[in-house]
């Protein structure tokens, strides 16, 4: 009998381990997974400049693109905008996603501040943003020739960001 009670701690350990194993599986506060490595989610959206014209995810095949999430309510987007104008002048291929915004306001914005985008998708409901895992604006995604998202940058894109991470990766993808 005495020997048996020495097994008690082991028994308690077993219970605890089982608890921890279940706890690991529960994992309620896991961070949302970024879509890096996955294809651009399916979508069918009209363009900001033309509500009759529609584009879907197939557009991204065979070209390398920057996908920039922006909105007129986003102050930081205004700060980064001139830099995107500069990039566009250099021939960088940028697609905009006008996120949870008003078409009129967006069109005016692009008129006033110039339009660096090949086109901007009008994601008024935010559905595409949700599918992309967007947590706010501005955010910029890098999409490769297979339409796969390769990188996400959260925040303003400026010289520093472009020259250290986005730019080199963009160039690398062009040669893939």
């Amino acid at each position: 009998m005495s020997r048996l009670k020495l097994f008690l701690p082991l028994g308690i350990l077993g219970l605890l381990l089982a608890l921890f194993y279940v706890g690991l599986k529960l994992d309620p506060s896991a961070m949302p997974s970024v879509l890096v490595g996955k294809p651009v989610p399916d979508f069918r959206l009209s363009l900001v400049r033309d509500e009759q014209a529609y584009v879907n995810q197939d557009y991204f095949k065979d070209k390398v693109s920057l996908l920039n999430i922006w909105a007129t309510w986003c102050y930081a987007c205004r700060i980064e905008h001139p830099y995107f104008n500069k990039l566009a002048d250099e021939g960088i291929h940028i697609v905009g996603v006008n996120y949870k915004d008003e078409r009129e306001a967006a069109q005016k914005w692009l008129r006033d501040l110039h339009d660096p985008y090949v086109f901007s998708l009008y994601d008024q409901s935010g559905r595409l943003g949700l599918d992309l895992g967007v947590t706010g604006a501005p955010e910029t995604y890098l999409v490769d020739k297979q339409g796969i998202i390769r990188y996400r940058h959260i925040g303003v894109v400026d010289t520093n960001v472009w020259e250290s991470t986005l730019g080199p990766q963009y160039q690398a993808l062009l040669t893939e």
Binding site: A76, T135, I154
Partner: protein, 155 residues
């Protein structure tokens, strides 16, 4: 009784008595000091009990923070995909509290559909920050206006 047995009996009795006291205290403590967590969706759907201390949490809706000019009172709204929760708090908000970021509030939900919080914790709680947790702090870019879309606000 054999002296050794007697001694062992005393020891066992001691342990049993103290453990019972401990358990009694714990059961007494449990009533008010374990707080259930409800997301905003639960508040909107009406399943949250009134006048009980509990926790709520969600994303601080951008534009909803209103500060009283005369006191330290502040009101804001916590949202998730399915609901919203009006919060009223008197005091200093933590540094990490920001619109578009997650917050957890501890307090009482009253019939006037307002949550009276006496404690507000921002997403990465500054109550205690061991060095290991530094890794969990996300380094957002220079400027990034969060919306309430991303993130999971569990507990």
């Amino acid at each position: 009784m054999h002296p050794v047995r007697k001694q062992r009996l005393i020891v066992v009795l001691f342990i049993v008595i103290l453990s019972s006291v401990a358990i009694g205290l714990l059961l007494y403590a449990i009533r008010d000091n374990i707080n259930l967590f409800y997301p905003p969706a639960a508040f909107t759907s009406g399943e949250v009990p009134y006048d009980v201390r509990l926790r709520g949490g969600g994303c601080v809706e951008p534009g909803s923070v209103v500060r009283n000019p005369d006191s330290l009172e502040v009101r804001f709204v916590l949202v998730d995909k399915l609901g919203s929760l009006k919060v009223q708090y008197e005091g200093i908000l933590p540094d990490l509290f920001a619109e578009g970021e997650a917050a957890v509030v501890n307090g009482i939900w009253k019939e006037d559909q307002v949550f009276y919080a006496d404690q507000v914790l921002a997403k990465h709680d500054e109550n205690y920050m061991p060095p290991e947790v530094a890794e969990a702090m996300s380094e957002s870019g220079e400027e990034h206006e969060a919306t309430c879309q991303g993130g999971n606000y569990g507990s």
